[in-house]
Every structure is written in C-alpha cells, then in structure tokens.
Amino acid sequence: MLQINKLCKRYGKFQALNNLDLSIPKGEVFGFIGPNGAGKTTTMKIICGLLSATSGEVYVDGIDAIKNKKEIKRKIGYMPDFFGVYDNLKAMEYMEFYASMYGIVGDGARKTCRELMALVNLSDKEDAYVDGLSRGMKQRLCLARCLVHNPELLILDEPASGLDPRARFEVKEILKNLSSMKKTIIISSHILPELAEMCTSIGVMERGHLVINGSIDDILMNAKGSSPLHIQIVDNQETAIRLLKENPAVEKLSIRNDEIIVSYMGTEQDEANLLKQLILNDVAVSGFVREQGNLENIFMELTGPKQKEAV
C-alpha cells in the first residue's frame, strides 16, 4: 500500500529525514514510534502532500505521491496531531463541510456522515457545536472526518494524545474496527503499550532514520532475547555469583537483596543449563525468569544515548 524509497527532507542545515526506506502492505496497522523530532510527522506530511521531499520516492497504492498529489488525495485520510475546530459549526455540519470538500454533497453526503458519526459513537452529538465537544469527542469526530471519502490509507498523527483513559480506549476500539475493514493505518504515538496492542507492525525512527522495522511479534521476540534475567536466590548467593561470573553468556550482573539481575545473551537452552548448574551446585533458587520484552524497552534501547552516539 505504501512504499517509501530513499526519502530525504532537509530544513536548511537540519536533515529531518535521511534516506528513509519503508514499505507497508495493504491492511497493515503500522505504528510509528520515535522521540520528538525524529521525523515521524515530516514523513506523514510528505505522504499526504503537505510537504515537499528534498529527494526520494513515495508510492501510495502504486501511484507516485510526489507527482500525482491530486490522485492520492482520495486514497488518504489524514488526522494531524493537533486540529482546530470552527466556532458556531455543528458536528454534522463539520462532517458535511469536509464531505463537500471531496465533492460529496446532498443526501449521499448526509447518509455517509450519519454512518460515520455512528461508527465513532457520536450519533447523539450531530446537532452539538463542535467547539463544545470534549477533547475525546473532537478526536473521534476528526477520525470520522478522515473517513468521509472512504480512503484506503489512514494516517493518524498522535490520535490518542491528551485523552483520558476512557477516551483512549474508545479511539482504540474504533481503530480496531477500522482495521477489520481492511484499511491500512499508520499511527504515530507515544503511548507505546497501546501501539503494541493495536499494531501489526512497527517502525522506530530516530534522527530521520528507521532504526528498526518489522512485525510486532518479531520485534518483541528479539527484544525478549536482550531482556535481563531475574534470579531469586534464597541461599548460597556467593556460589551463584561465582558461577554466573564464570558463564560466558553473562555480560554483567547486579545484585538487589536476594535477587540477581543478569544481562544474559544465551539461548533458552543455555538458560535451562544455567538453572541446572545452579541447582547442582547447591544454590537455592526460588525464582528464575526472563523479563518480558516490551515496546518501551525497545524504544528506550534504540533511541537512548548509546544509539545517538552511534548515529
């Protein structure tokens, strides 16, 4: 659905995007992660035609998005990270206004807008003024607005930012619903656990680069391998420390009361062997567990100081 080749964007001396390559198949829910200024919004704006690229190619459903801006507009629904509303305009009028911007007018437009308002659970707010809606409702209304022309690709920049847990849950449910409609969705967000729940694949951006990109399961699996091992020792801690220091797969270890936290690079089989060795050497082990991989850890690891030095 989306193919980006060697995309570069320069603002004066600042390189916002540096040879970005990305491909997102149809029906995918892609999570864009990265610290502020990493280039997520710039990428999204270039895809939508709101910014020009310094160099590179963007294809949306096989159409060159840089050359054929007019054609791709019908394929993309864009929701910016912040959107303003108009005073004195009702929710239904807001929807109909954007429908008319796509040339959808009359009864057809009204019917589509009604359906979309129902999809985002705002049917009872059709006659409410937009500026009087809560932030969560405005966010849902904006989401409905994105869908008014039935786009194939949805680009959502921070759709859940500034929302309370209930409103975030509602937005998440709508996105799940849209995903089941086979829409390709690109979401940028800082709320990483939610992205892990919603997305089928993710890409982590740092300083205009895509540092990691792939299916969420693969990335979490890889992350698990680099997560620390937590070993609870009841007795004979000295022997345990000696054995761990002798083990070539142990990179470093730290001790917290009766728990030893180990940076362990071995496989699952190595882990089993280590546990066996500890028990055979009379170490009383009450807990032996590998920390679960999560997006937050991946994010911190990939965008932390070490990574910045490497870049």
Binding site: L51, S55, G62, F82, F83, E93, S100, Y102
Partner: protein, 314 residues
C-alpha cells in the same frame, strides 16, 4: 447548484456570529448620525442667514460625505475580514486538513474571498436607506446609490484580493492584516507620492533644459488607474454634480490617447483593478501551493515511474 464548500461554511459561521449585526448597527449608526448632524447644521445656517440651503445641489453633498465614509470603512474592514481568512485557518491548524482534501487551492481562495466580499457587501447594502436620505429633496436615487455600490464592490474585490494574497503567505492574522493595510496604503497614498516625486523630477529637467510651458507627466498619470480612491473620487464628484471631466482638471497632459482614457477613466480603472484582483488571487493560490510543497526538486521529477509496490512489499 453546487455552492463553493468554503463559502457555504463561512456563511453559516458568519450568520451565527454576533459580530455581523453589531457591525451593521455600528456602521448605520455612524452614517445616520452624520446625516442628522448635517441636516441640523444646515437648518441652523438657514435660520440665521435666511438662505434656502435645502436645494437639491446643496443637500446631495451629504451623499459625498457618506460615500467617503463608506470607502474608508471598506478600506479598513476588508483587510480585517479577508487578510485573516487563510492565515486564520493556518492559526487554527485547519488549513493542512483542507489541503489534504480534493478541493483545489483556487476553490479555497475563491470561497474565502467571496465570503469576505459578501459580508462587506451586506454591510454596504444595509446602508442603502441611510444613503437614500441624501436624495430626500429629489435626484436620481437608484442610479446614484446603486452606482456607488457598484464602485464600492470593485473596491471590496480589490482590497479583498490583497487581503487574501497577504493571508496566503503570512503565518499569523495580525501580520497579514498589517501587510494588507501597508499594501493598500501604497496603492492609495504611495501612487500619489510617486507621482509627486516624478513631477518634481520632470519639473527639474524641464527647468534645466529651459523648456517652455509646464512639465507634462504623460503616461505616468496612468499609475493612478490602480488607485481605488481616485476611481471613487471620479465617481462621487460626478454623482454629486461635479465637473463631467473632473480628472481633466487635475491631470494635465497632451500625451496621445490620454484624452480618451480620461473620458473613460471610471470604466478603465475599474477594469484594471478587477484584473489586478484576479492576478492577486492567482498569486495567492500559488502561495498556498508552495506552502504545501508542490515545488519538487528536478532530481525528484526524473525519478523512476510507478515502481511496482507489491514487489517491494512482499
């Protein structure tokens, strides 16, 4: 009939705003106050001097005053409405969303301009009853009042297009309004200042060369065609019984063709200003395009045509 979506939205929002009736009330109150004051002052002079001042020729002078008040109102109100239209969308962060829709930049610009023009026109039309008071002692009300509205409409379009142009490349509304007022100032006063300076230089050359007669500015006078206040002056002077060739008294030139231009000044200047308005709108649409980055580097344009996506995604 398909109505411009921006115009439709703006009209809905405008109609619900308290600003509109307030401005209508304020403008009409000012004009009515001027009319009352004028008639009162005339009455006082007539009582003390015993001269009948309520002759047709004397009373229509109030039409001139009201006309000038209206054009001054337009020159201030139009930039406030038009120059904040697109920059206002930018400030609200709704312009980006608009630009991702199928609507062309020109549709956005025309919608914004039309809504500003119609709003100001509503204010002007609301003053017709007050304007008509000028002809309470006789005279062709319909011709003169509607002639005035037609001239004011050209000025609204002209000033509006300047406002839209500044609005399309200014980031904030205040900057856009100030810039529009500066542009207007250049057109209204700048053209007069430039002409004055040119006249001084030509006069100097005339004296150095020891030529007889007065210095002739020739086609330089055409600069005044872009000045809406000169167009208005020409109309209002004629409408209130002034010289049929009022500009001929000011513009003294023997340049070929100028005689005809001076005779048809009103139509020519209106034509020039309408043409410049369209040029301003075209420039505004280019400015919006540039904002959203249609200017793509040549290197990019040479890039391979529609690369197969499926191949890359699999």
């Amino acid at each position: 009939m398909k109505i411009n979506p921006i115009l439709n939205k703006e009209m809905k929002i405008g109609a619900r705003s308290i600003k509109m009736p307030l401005i209508v009330m304020l403008l009409n109150s000012i004009l009515a106050f001027i009319v009352i004051l004028f008639f009162y002052a005339y009455g006082q002079v007539m009582t003390s001097s015993g001269i009948d001042l309520y002759s047709l020729r004397s009373v229509v002078r109030i039409f001139k005053i009201l006309g000038w008040v209206e054009i001054c109102f337009i020159s201030v109100a139009v930039p406030i409405f038009a120059a904040s239209s697109i920059s206002g969308e930018r400030e609200r962060q709704t312009l980006d969303i608009m630009l991702t829709t199928s609507a062309k930049p020109m549709t956005i610009i025309v919608g914004k301009l039309t809504s500003s023009v119609l709003t100001i026109l509503l204010f002007i039309v609301s003053t017709i009853p007050v304007l008509s008071l000028s002809f309470v002692y006789g005279g062709s009300v319909v011709n003169k009042v509607f002639g005035l509205i037609a001239i004011l409409m050209v000025a609204i379009l002209y000033f509006g297009s300047i406002g839209i142009l500044t609005s399309s490349f200014c980031r904030n509304s205040i900057g856009s309004i100030i810039l529009a007022l500066v542009f207007e100032g250049l057109l209204v006063f700048g053209t007069l200042v430039v002409l004055g300076l040119i006249a001084l230089v030509v006069e100097l050359i005339w004296q150095i060369k020891d030529l007889k007669g007065t210095a002739d500015l020739g086609y330089t006078w055409l600069l005044l065609l872009v000045n809406p206040f000169v167009t208005f002056y020409e109309y209002i002077s004629k409408a209130t019984g002034g010289n049929a060739e009022i500009l001929r008294e000011i513009i003294d030139t023997n340049a070929p063709g100028m005689e005809w231009i001076l005779k048809n000044w009103l139509f020519i200047s209106c034509g020039v200003q309408i043409l410049l308005s369209f040029l301003n709108l075209k420039l505004a649409s280019v400015a919006i395009r540039r904002t959203r980055g249609q200017k793509v580097k040549k290197k990019n344009k040479k890039s391979k045509k529609n690369q197969p996506v499926e191949e890359a995604t699999n």
